[in-house]
Symmetry: C2
Subunit: 205 residues, 2 copies
Amino acid sequence: MPKLVDHDQRREELVRAVWEVISRDGIEGATVRKVAEEAGVSVGGLRHYFDSQRGLLLFAAQAIARNVGARVLAHVRRDGLAGPERARLMLEEFLPLDAWRRVELDVWLACLVRSRVDPSMAELRETSWVGERHVCRLAVAYCRDARPPEDIRAPLGDARLERWAARLHVYVDGLTLQAGMFPEQLPAEEVRRGLRRELELVVAG
Amino acid sequence: MPKLVDHDQRREELVRAVWEVISRDGIEGATVRKVAEEAGVSVGGLRHYFDSQRGLLLFAAQAIARNVGARVLAHVRRDGLAGPERARLMLEEFLPLDAWRRVELDVWLACLVRSRVDPSMAELRETSWVGERHVCRLAVAYCRDARPPEDIRAPLGDARLERWAARLHVYVDGLTLQAGMFPEQLPAEEVRRGLRRELELVVAG
């Protein structure tokens, strides 16, 4: 299926170009024209992927959902990790701890804010909520040596653990927001320390 | 000082008009012209307060900082409240639990996102961080019957309590973000319950 491979590869190249433009010009300065220039393609050649600033944001947000999902899954599948360590690595994938994930957060927040007035972003918002809550449930299950939920929407069997998952979800979102918007107040080491302490609380119950 | 009174009253009327326009048209649709129409003044008459969309946002953000500060202070001064109850009332002032505070959050997030590329918003960002951290320190001190910090920038005397204040700050920001962006997942009652549980954790230490 050579066509399919080309298609995936082109998509990857475009994601990289979008990231490049957003890092340099901010979300508001990221236009279809600039992405086309960065990627070395015509504006018309982008039409299959997006053809407006809104479409560009949606394209970027979908790429983030895919990338975060894949990174989290890699930690789920790794051998030989202690439960709390696995939980920590999974949750760190949401935090803006490097330049790439910082762009992810900028795009993500912009989409969230816009989704309040743009119904076309509502589905993505719902998917991201469900996905992040699932990862938090997995993290709590790993920390407490409990049975992980089988379905992405299923709560944890134990109501107390389910409450911890909801708390962890709130905490991770707060940490993400603070790390992204107040980097001078919360350097990466402080962010990592906060998450570690939080998981110690989950382990202690 | 009749002039001063007029000035304050005009500012209040404008804040109300800005809120009205943002609730109706969203942040991106809020323009100087629309606010002038809503307030029944000329565009020129607004120039003293703001003369661009950026100035409008900054004006709105300053109003939020003033309003939240005044509401929190009212709880600090109320007689006869138990410590955790006072803490809860103070922190609820940050949460989008009604239509007015929901607009506050929309404006606030928009300013935060924009402050990443607009240095004129950096001071407000810094002030808001310091203010919210101070309120979290007060809340922890009230919950644990400890001595509140005397200065807005001073940490709590006990390093363990200071860590709780940092945690509470992260939690409140996460709860604010989730309540604002995912109201269908997190109705107001759930938000209040989350905050109450969090403060129980602080009390238990």
